[in-house]
Amino acid sequence: MDNVIVTGASRGIGLAIARKLASSGYDVTAVARRTSDELEAAIAAGKGQAAGALRFAALDLAQIEAMPEFVRQARRDRGPIYGLVNNAGIGTEGLLATMPNSQIEALLRLNNLSPIVLTKYVVRGMMAEGRGRVVNLSSIIASTGYNALSVYGASKAAMIGFTKSLAREVGRLGITVNAIAPGFIDTEMTRGLDDAQRKRIADRSALRRLAEAGDIADMAAFLIGETGRNITGAVMTVDAGSTA
């Protein structure tokens, strides 16, 4: 059973991805600062099933210096890591002119520095194995823009640049690197939107609805599976046609 690490997997899109991959037969390590009732329920529900496994591993992704040892330990415990889903991120809103510098820095640290460094240590093992899959969570905001999300938008656009160049670097070794750009998904991160805003986004999308966390999970599973073998350096938009 291939090992996959999913970050930010205690809730929202990350949890949906972890759950989907486990039910597709992968051995999934759900990484987050702390577990959640939803994740524990998913772990309990998966026990005794014929499909893959789901387990929680605690890691504060802001602690960059902890990453080499975390990855080393994961490989020691479970063997080679086949897939990495860089999902963890924060969506701090704020007008740039008044956003505290500390918030700007924290956002870029968690949304960019952290996944890049984690990928560095995980991809090394993939290089040694000659196979692997990296999936980075971007956002449609990387290419469309949204009021009060300039820093978030910058961080998500950065992940696309990272995805494309890394795909070039490691492609020769049988490793694919892709990004998923979700539209607005109903999760804790988008709780700041009120019903009227939500309805407006839905009404503007081609399908007149919002995409769901499960849709993002399906795309991640597609990219990580054999189905994704000839897709690399790509950005897969899943937004119910918001940007169509």
Partner: protein
Amino acid sequence: MTTRSIIISQIQQVAAEQKKTLAPLTDDLSLLDSGLDSLCFAILVARLEDAIGVDPFTASAEVKFPNTIGELIAFYEHVAA
């Protein structure tokens, strides 16, 4: 196996897998002239971390990549010691 022999055998293995022709591996051979490219060195560092248990490029604050085969071996011997 000594650190030296592990490094030499891993270099040969990576070269064979990546279809690179190696120059004779003497201590004063420049890594640039060894026949391996940058990707090969990245694979080598990943494999050596598994084989020797250390990654001197993470362990040490000194980030300068060694210039020759001899320096590369000394770099690992120094950290492994």
